[in-house]
Every structure is written in structure tokens, then in C-alpha cells.
Amino acid sequence: MISLADQFLVLVLLINFISLGTSRLIFSIRAVAAQGVILGILPGLIHPFSWHLVGITAVIIAAKGFIIPLLLNRAVRSAEIKREVEPFLGYVPTLLLGALFTALSFGFAGKLPLAPEHQNYMFVPASIATLMSGFLILTTRRKAISQVIGYLVLENGIFIFGLLLAEAMPIMVEAGALLDLLVGTFVMGIVINHISREFSSLDTSRLTSLKEE
């Protein structure tokens, strides 16, 4: 099962690059949804079967794979935008930076001591690389929806790390964290709709009325 989990993690890393490199919002949302579904499957691959596990898998696939992407899709449709235009940093530089961060996170993870049962997994570098990719998307894109996608990728990175901690985190806290992230995305979705109503676009670089002179 180890190698299967690692292959899924490679997929997660590839999806990071898809989201970093595409300008089509719908495509980007789909990629993140696919990433969410993979994250839902992962716990089943590394932990022994239990009903608690089935529940978590179902919740994660439903939330990350369907509900949140649906919300974002609706926002895209209601605002009638298709593409991210003129990001603060071009697609090629972001992709290169993403590759650099991915390499660095493998280096970072190599320096830190791992528990023996996790030695052969790629969880730590995959988690940090995904986190950094999310951060990159967040900081380089203009559209509010792209920024939410960045936030989601960042959360996914954190989630991958959380998989290593199933024993340390009681289910209540796990559920609470998941719920918070979900509610956060919901609120962001609502705010997006209000932004499109106020500014008739989802371009956050137009949000400049509060700049210091």
C-alpha cells in the first residue's frame, strides 16, 4: 500500500502544477476537486479499516471534492468570468518558483527526523510543497476565486500532514478543524458573490479604495 499512497501523492504534486500553470478557472477548480478526492482516499490507504475512517473519507470527498467546487463553480458562472487575466506574476515564473519550492521542500523534509513508520513515505515533502504552491497561487493571482483556490490548495497541504497524526489528534478536533475550513470557504464564497455585485468583477486588484496615499 505504501507505493500506492506515494503514487497518489505524486498525483497531488502534479495537480499543484496544473493549478499553478492554468489560466482557466473552471479547469483549476476541477483540478482542486480532484485533489480533494485523492486526499479523501489517502487515509484509507495508510490506516487499517474502521468505520471512523469511512466517515472521514466520505466527509472529505463530499466537502473537498463536491460541495466546495460546486460553490466556486456557481461563483464563476454568476460573475461570468472564464480566465485569470494578468496575474501579478506570469505563469512560467510561477511554475518555475513552484518547482523550486517543491525541490526545497524535499530538502527541508530530508533534514528533519521522521518516525520510523513514516520513513518510506513522501507525506512530509508533499505536504510542504502543496502548502507552498497554495501560497504562491494566493499571492500571485488577482481574481478572488483564484485566491480561494490558492487557499484550498494550502489547506490540502496542511491536510496531508495531518494524515501522519491520526493518533495525536482526537476526532473532535479533526472534525472541528475540517468544519472551520469548510465554513471559511463558504464565507469566502459568499464574500465573492458580494464582491462581484459591488465591483461587477472579481478582480481583487480593483479593491484599492483603502490604499494608503
Binding site: 528533519l112 487557499y151 494550502l154 500532514f161 497524526l165 495525536a168 478536533v173 478543524a177 471559511g184 479593491l207
Partner: protein, 477 residues
């Protein structure tokens, strides 16, 4: 008892949600705030033992923050009765519900020793406040809400990965995996230093951005500037302290590991950067609510510096939690009144406040004197303690930067505040229906009296509480 503290505001949120009348809702809201303060006082005087396997512990640090939050909340709630009367044009349902949900989550932060649960509660306070910043439903407030939501959520998410690193350090060290503060402190010596170090960096950045330490403060002026006065008071006097409490928990952990010097230095430098930033942006600030936001950046900076210095300054930091939140309450509530009366928060239009609103103007002026650290008000005591401690420890450079920033901030703030309150009301000034009433002036006045009282006399129970809390943060020799 612990459960009641969390459930009572939630019941309040449900009840205020169901009330259909905008006039009645703030009154019920205040009743629940009063009930919460009653429970808080009860818990403080008669602390129950830890419950639920050490998850819920009310220690001295939690008590200070809980007390400050609950008192400020009550004053804000009472103020809302008068304030929302002038905002009848829109429903106040979301405002009352959001505030109460936030109070519930805030109480959770103060009474839990489980860092994961604390994180969940902290993130809940962030989300529950977002709709309130959007109270005015215009383009500027949506921009502020977006910035606040995104930066704080990302910040708190980074703190979560910091917590995960800590938990993973326990797994690597083969001790009982746990995120309970007491377990972590006990096993701190065995934890792998690489993970712990990385964890502290993420936790500092995460909670630092929620607290608004420079250079992670960019959401603050917008959010504080656009939020209604009482929401601003709650953000600057309540939520800031919760994030600081989270940093105090990390500090407690650092004390048990070997990382304390690194963490202390990081706190001192971030704190000083915040103060210098505030000093730069405070000058010539044309919007008085944004000015208050920079003042908040300054004061979180002061708390961070004090915590980083250690020694006697710790007492100053803890006392400043209360002093800052009460004085910020005065300033924000008074500024809410001024904003209502002039229908503007630009100092080019707001002049002669003392003539137009003698009470609110005087409160704003007194609040300014208090918040800049002048005697006989409470912030003077804390700031003086911190500066003298810095000199005693031989940290002359830190002390000098601290004093110079305070002086520049005093001048910068005076240049905005004095022309505002003095002088004549401009001819073209818009006339509004707002008049000072007991309900809108009473709460900030009450807060000011508290700030004054704490400045001249600290009651014995509070003194011993502060000392007990400071002992928890002492660097072992």
C-alpha cells in the same frame, strides 16, 4: 461551569436570531453579555478543577484574558442598544448573532489547554467576525472583509501546520502523542528540536498575523476602519488578546524547551518593527478610525516586546492586556459616536467635536491621553514597567527604540486628535440625527473610569492574579 461559559452565548445567539424586532434584539443581547460576565466572575473567584482529562483548565493567563474580554463585551453590548438605534436602516440580526458566537469561541480559547481545540476556537472567532466587518454593505467594507478573511485565515492555517509539527515531534520522540499543553510541557525535553523549531516559526507567523504584528498587519487598518465602532472595539480589545494568549501558550512551551532565546528575540524584533511601523503611518493619518488601527498595531507591538524581554516586563505585558483592551474600548466607542454625528471619518470634515458632542469629544480626547501612556491611566503603568525592566536588563537599544516610537506616536496621534476635537464645527458639515445619549456615552465613560481606576489602584485580587500569571511565564534559571 466551563460548559456554561461556552453554551450561554450560543443560546444567546439562537435567541437573538429568533427575535424579529430590531429594537428588542440589542437589549436581549446585553442581558446575555451580563450573564456571561456574571459567570466569568463566578469562575474567577471559585475556579473549578481541570475537567475532561485536562482539556479544560482555567489558569491565571486564561483568567486575565477572559476577564478583559467579558468586561469589554458587556460594555460593547450595552453600547449597542444606543448605537443600533441610529442604525435602524438595516437589520442588526447578524451583528448580534455574530458577536455572541464570537464570545462563545473566545471563552473557549481562554479555558482550553488543548492546543488543537484552541486553534479551532480561534479560527471560529475569525470567521464569526467577518460578516460584522461587512455591516455597512458597501464596496469599501467588502474590500476590508475580503482582506481580513483571507489574511487571517491563511495566518491561522499556518499556525495549524505549526501545531501539526509539534504533534509530529511527539510522535518522533515516541512519547504519548498529544496536543495538550501540559503533556507537551512535560515531554518538552525529549522532543526533536528540528520539528519544534519549525513549529515555533509557523506558530509565531500564524498567531502574529491574527494579532496584527507588523509586517503581517496589512488587514488591520482596513478592517478596523470599516467596521462599526463596537465591532472595532471587539476586534482591537478582544480578538487581539486571544491571539496574544495563543502566543503566551507557545511561550510556555518554549520555556520548557531550549528554544526560548530564539523565540524571545523574534518577539522583541517583531514588536519593535510594529511600533516603528505604527509611528510612521500614524503621522498625518486623515481617517481617525484607521489611526486607531495603527494604534492597535503599536500596542500589540508593545505586548510582544514586553513578552520577549521577560523578567519584570512580563507583568507589564499581562497588565497591558487589560489596559489596552479597556482603553481601545473607550476610543472605538467614542469614535463610533463621532462617526455617526458627522457621517464621516475624515478629519478634514470632522472638526470641533468638543462643541458638537461635548461628551463623546471629551471621551475621545481622554481615551487618546490614556492610550498614549500618560498618567494617571492604566497604560502608563504597564508601559513604564516595561521600559524600566528593559533598562534594568541592560537592553538600552530596545528601550530607546521603544521610547522614541512612543514619543513619535504621541505626536502623530495628537496631530490628528487635537484638531479634530478642538476648533469650530465646519459650516458645510452634514447635520445628522445623532445626539449623545446615556446609552451611547455611558459605556465608553464606564470603560474610561475603569482605565483610570486601574491606573491609580490595582485591587488586591487582580494584583495576585497578575503575579500568579507572571510566575507561569518566568524563565527558569
Amino acid at each position: 461551569m466551563f460548559a456554561a461559559l461556552i453554551i450561554l452565548p450560543l443560546i444567546g445567539a439562537a435567541v437573538t436570531w429568533l427575535i424579529p424586532y430590531d429594537r428588542l434584539r440589542p437589549k436581549v443581547f446585553s442581558l446575555f453579555a451580563l450573564g456571561h460576565l456574571g459567570l466569568t466572575v463566578q469562575l474567577l473567584s471559585n475556579t473549578p478543577p481541570p475537567s475532561a482529562g485536562g482539556w479544560f483548565v482555567l489558569d491565571a493567563l486564561g483568567k486575565i484574558v477572559l476577564l478583559g474580554t467579558s468586561v469589554l463585551f458587556l460594555f460593547c453590548a450595552v453600547y449597542s442598544i444606543g448605537y443600533l438605534y441610529y442604525r435602524r436602516e438595516r437589520s442588526n440580526r447578524i451583528l448580534c448573532v455574530g458577536m455572541l458566537v464570537c464570545l462563545s469561541a473566545a471563552s473557549m480559547v481562554t479555558i482550553t489547554h488543548h492546543l488543537g481545540l484552541m486553534w479551532v476556537a480561534l479560527e471560529t472567532t475569525t470567521i464569526s467576525m467577518a460578516p460584522l466587518i461587512y455591516f455597512n454593505r458597501n464596496a469599501r467594507s467588502i474590500e476590508a472583509t475580503w482582506k481580513y478573511l483571507l489574511i487571517c485565515s491563511v495566518g491561522v492555517a499556518l499556525a495549524l501546520i505549526g501545531l501539526y509539527f509539534l504533534a509530529y515531534a511527539t510522535i518522533v520522540a515516541k512519547v504519548e502523542p498529544s496536543l495538550l499543553l501540559d503533556d507537551l510541557v512535560r515531554d518538552a525535553g525529549k522532543l526533536s528540536s528540528g520539528w519544534v523549531h519549525a513549529a515555533f516559526v509557523f506558530l509565531l507567523v500564524g498567531f502574529g498575523s491574527k494579532m496584527g504584528l507588523a509586517p503581517l498587519h496589512s488587514w488591520k487598518p482596513d478592517a478596523y476602519g470599516e467596521a462599526p465602532g463596537l465591532v472595532g472595539a471587539m476586534l482591537a480589545g478582544g480578538l487581539v488578546n486571544l491571539a496574544f494568549l495563543a502566543l503566551l501558550r507557545v511561550y510556555q512551551l518554549c520555556l520548557a524547551t531550549k528554544e526560548i532565546t530564539f523565540f524571545q528575540n523574534a518577539l522583541v524584533s517583531m514588536g519593535l518593527i510594529s511600533m516603528v511601523f505604527a509611528a510612521i503611518f500614524m503621522a498625518r493619518q486623515a481617517d481617525f478610525k484607521r489611526m486607531l488601527a495603527y494604534s492597535s498595531v503599536e500596542h500589540v507591538g508593545i505586548m510582544a516586546v514586553a513578552l520577549g524581554l521577560g523578567g519584570k516586563a512580563i507583568f507589564g505585558a499581562l497588565f497591558h492586556i487589560l489596559a489596552n483592551s479597556l482603553s481601545k474600548g473607550v476610543m472605538f466607542l467614542a469614535s463610533g459616536n463621532i462617526h455617526r454625528s458627522y457621517n464621516s471619518k475624515n478629519t478634514s470634515q470632522v472638526k470641533g467635536v468638543l462643541r458638537r458632542l461635548p461628551w463623546s469629544g471629551a471621551l475621545f480626547l481622554a481615551g487618546f491621553i490614556a492610550i498614549t501612556g500618560s498618567p494617571p491611566f492604566a497604560p502608563f503603568i504597564s508601559e513604564f514597567t516595561i521600559i524600566s525592566s528593559a533598562f534594568i536588563q541592560g537592553r538600552v537599544v530596545v528601550a530607546l527604540i521603544f521610547i522614541v516610537s512612543l514619543a513619535i506616536i504621541f505626536i502623530g496621534m495628537a496631530l490628528t486628535v487635537l484638531p479634530m476635537v478642538m476648533g469650530e464645527v465646519p459650516q458645510e458639515s452634514e447635520s445628522t440625527s445623532y445626539r449623545d445619549t446615556v446609552w451611547t456615552v455611558g459605556p465608553p465613560l464606564g470603560l474610561l473610569l475603569l482605565v483610570f481606576l486601574l491606573g491609580v489602584w490595582i485591587p488586591e485580587p487582580l494584583m495576585s492574579l497578575l503575579n500568579e500569571a507572571a510566575a507561569l511565564l518566568e524563565v527558569p534559571r
